[in-house]
Amino acid sequence: MESYHFNWNVIWRDWDALLGGLALGLEVAVYSLAIGMIIGQSCAFMMTAKSRLLRVPSRVYVTFLRNQPPLLLLFFAYFVLPRMGIRLGREESVILTLGLYAGAQLAEVFRGALVNIPRGIAEAGKSIGLTTFRVNLLVILPIMFRNALPALGNTFISLFKDTSLAAGIALAELTWQTRRISTETFAVMESWITACVLYVVTCTAISYALSYLENKLRIPR
């Protein structure tokens, strides 16, 4: 076997496709996070509710989904659901799958953030005449959200990394683009080095951006 020759031109030629794939991954991660947050917060309230009718189903959902391989869920959404008459596009499948999966993870995060709020805070809300619903909406939810901020940031980074699974159903995000370049051009080194660098740089950048955001949104002390 002859020795390897680097040819970075194949990367520059497809640079736009790579960056486009990166952007697509970020977009998918943002939508999934939005879905995950709605599900996670609802489940957190349900899991801490008095009624078993709320607690049991939410607990089952969270425990089951949290312990699933996301790739299996994604294939289920993209390949099996259409056979049952539910047809989703590639991007929709990924967003739905990661959203449901993140929802289960975030439910635990939000539940932790919720039970950490002293009971007296809710009582204070009631004592000025707010109904339980409005106490939750105006007082508990904002505090819970801020308590959960650091974990929320980590979840977003995980979600972004998990968007690489979309390569499995041929969504043209960064991992898929990289694999395409690497198999089309045999520039194995260049393509995967580029992908790794792009992912690491993006994750680092997100993590700095999030800690900046966290500092801004954190309750001042």
Binding site: P69, F76, K161, T175, V188
Partner: protein
């Protein structure tokens, strides 16, 4: 009701037909997961110790390894090892690593980075006095680690270690994308062959749930035992 029952029977017959395929897939999954967890744990602990006790340069090197490994998605790690590292190995030795080996290495790298980080955290969370007390009674560095530090740190590490082990099991499904014939591949093949999709996928979900949740429950059981003191 009868329809449900007949489709269930049909599925059970299909599972029985696909039994050898499914079992060999499950064995592959177990092999990959166990080896990756063992390797990942061993290297994770070593790297963790390096992060705490290493010199400046060693610490920096390991820190870069951990940060890079954590910044790259699991699937990209698998592809990178499968395509890129394999290329390097071929050039150096002429030997081509199997897809399975590549997958195990990638999963182990993933786990080692997580475990290194939590080992560092757990050891640094212990009061300094612990290792000083060990020194004071004349224990060597190794003896202090094994008799004083690890037994205490393990309580801290255990919950996150369990999460990492679960993640490795989830990660084995990614090996299907580099054609390792593990359980998910077996499920897909069986489903396509028998033309029963929903049931086979649901079956796969249940199997993975039992494994991953089982690890979590086992971890909790261990935690309860370690929490005695």
């Amino acid at each position: 009701m009868t329809e449900l029952l007949s489709s269930l029977t049909e599925f059970l017959v299909a599972v029985r037909g696909a039994q050898p395929l499914l079992l060999s897939g499950l064995v592959k999954t177990a092999e990959a997961a166990i080896l990756a967890i063992l390797l990942g744990t061993a290297f994770g602990l070593i790297f963790g110790l390096m992060l705490v006790y290493g010199g400046k340069i060693l610490r920096l090197a390991v820190k870069i390894y951990v940060d890079v490994a954590r910044g790259i998605p699991g699937l990209v790690k698998i592809f990178t090892v499968y395509y890129l590292v394999n290329q390097l190995v071929i050039e150096a030795t002429g030997y081509r690593m199997s897809a399975m080996l590549c997958g195990i290495i990638a999963l182990a790298i993933h786990a080692s980075a997580q475990i290194a980080e939590m080992t560092r955290g757990a050891i640094q969370a212990l009061p300094r006095g612990q290792s000083e007390a060990g020194k004071a009674i004349g224990l060597t560095f190794g003896q202090i680690q094994f008799n004083v530090i690890f037994p205490q740190a393990i309580r801290q590490i255990l919950p996150t270690w369990v999460t990492s082990a679960g993640e490795v099991v989830k990660g084995t499904t990614l090996l299907s994308l580099i054609s390792v014939p593990e359980f998910f591949v077996a499920i897909k093949e069986a489903a396509a062959r028998e033309y029963i999709f929903f049931s086979f996928y649901l079956f796969a979900m249940l199997v993975y749930f039992v494994i991953i949740y089982g690890i979590e429950l086992f971890g909790r059981h261990l935690e309860a035992r370690f929490n005695k003191y």
